[in-house]
Amino acid sequence: MAHLLADGLRFRHQDTMIHRLDPRIKLLISIALFSVALLSSNLSQLAVAFGAIIVPAALARSLRRLGKVMSVSLTFAVFIFIINLVFGYGFLKSATLTLRFMAIVASTSLFFVTTSPDELEYVMRWFRLPRDFVFAFVTAVRFVPVLMLDLTQIIDAQKSRGLELDRGGPVKRLRNLIPVLIPLIVNALVRSGELAEAMESRGYGAVKKPTSLYTLRLASRDYAALSMTVAAWASILLSFGVLAQT
């Protein structure tokens, strides 16, 4: 399941109008979609919210990958639905809360699916976040696919030695994870040590304010996307007011 999530969220270079946008605009689109999802309080509003998410996802040719992320969130969604139902929220209210959760996941995923770790770094630096924090965060994002690959290979290696992860009761199953988690953690620590040494060898931290090779600059397509996003966002929220009265 984690593998499906990492694969779904992993950035892949694609040449679409959404991918070409300035990362700040992509973040704004994501925030706008997030707010629409958050403010949706009934099924018809949620339908609008999902429609609003599907349009940029389709333009980014990322519907299938978003679907992967959604299929992972489905497990949590079912859990949320059952909990709400158990606590007496009723079928309709529980379904609304569950779908809202899924819309929130989809809206935030869209940003990660269409934004490279490099672009993520530019945005965080534009927000003037501390350089070390930005580097640590972006490196963590970059290393997720690497760790997932490690995890797959470790599981394969241990299964080849007779380890059956799905065998036994809950305690046994947890214990079965030890031969997987130890090599995973050790490899991650070794890799982080090597990365730190490599970064220092390449001058990381040598100057307090390093120059940047790339600076974010809005192009005409970004202004167009910005206007469309604001217009669509305002219209949707206005329609929500109308929908809520009906």
């Binding site: 490690d150 290979q153 470790i154 394969d156 290696a157 241990q158 299964k159 080849s160 030695r161 007779g162 380890l163 059956e164 030890i178 031969p179 130890i182 090599p183 050790v186 490899n187 070794v190």
Partner: protein, 251 residues
């Protein structure tokens, strides 16, 4: 994405098979089909006459011992001994039998002095030999080595080669996947060349390794001893350096 396509391959009992190919040729994907880590979506993979689809990874691994490329993906125990015992316990060997078998493989692979060492503190060559020993402890019928020479120095490669020869002498079926042709050449094994999920050549090492265009097409480089033999018009090619030196000194 197509992972493998048109592979057709049979391996006899007691045979040593070298599978070579450049990156992305499908070698590792093929190996993972042997112990059921991957199951074919079309076509058929049979191990000892039985479809892998009908067997679990654990069942197949009892017969097919797979040693992965990266030793650090396998080692996790506190001592080398417990690392060897791990597989034996998984396969249901009794405590006494497991300890006896562990003792045997440590002696067989010359690893006795490392028995109480932490696996993660071993050298690359020692880790690799420990991984092979850990698999051989349950005595699988077939040993599969995936890129055994990656990250190994010259001496370690020699030791791995000796280990394979020992297993061959013990009439084990051994499959070695590698793009290190210099390492494979002295083995004198049946050699299969893979490219884009297809078997593009299958024959004795002399015939396959003498075909430079074939090797280059598969992203491989001919072993130096074969190239030198060609330059001197010597056939069959020199199998090792001393063979070449003796021949040259006689001329």
């Amino acid at each position: 994405m197509v992972a493998l396509d048109d592979v057709s391959l049979e391996v006899d009992k007691g045979e040593v098979l070298a599978i070579v190919g450049g990156n992305g040729a499908g070698k590792t994907t093929l190996l993972k089909h042997l112990n059921g880590l991957l199951k074919p979506t079309s076509g058929s993979v049979k191990v000892f006459g039985k479809e892998t689809k009908e067997q679990s990874v654990a069942e197949l691994s009892r017969k097919i011992g797979l040693v992965f490329q990266n030793s650090d993906h396998q080692l996790f125990s506190e001592t080398a001994e417990s690392e060897v015992l791990f597989g034996l316990k998984n396969f249901g060997f009794s405590e006494a039998d497991a300890v006896r078998r562990a003792g045997e493989v440590f002696s067989y692979f010359g690893l006795d002095s490392l028995r109480q060492r932490a696996p993660l503190t071993l050298s690359g060559g020692e880790k690799k030999r420990l991984c092979i020993a850990a698999v051989m402890a349950w005595n699988p019928e077939v040993l599969v080595l995936d890129e055994p020479t990656v990250g190994q120095d010259y001496l370690s490669k020699g030791r791995i080669l000796d280990t394979i020869r020992q297993l061959v002498a013990a009439e084990k079926t051994v499959l070695v996947v590698s793009h290190d042709l210099e390492f494979l050449w002295p083995l004198d094994a049946r050699t299969v060349v893979m490219m884009g999920g297809k078997v593009v050549a299958d024959g004795d090492s002399q015939t396959v390794f003498s075909d430079s265009p074939l090797l280059e097409g598969a992203g491989l480089k001919q072993p130096q001893l074969v190239t030198i033999s060609k330059l001197f018009g010597r056939s069959p090619s020199f199998r090792d350096v001393s063979d070449a030196a003796n021949w040259l000194s006689r001329r």
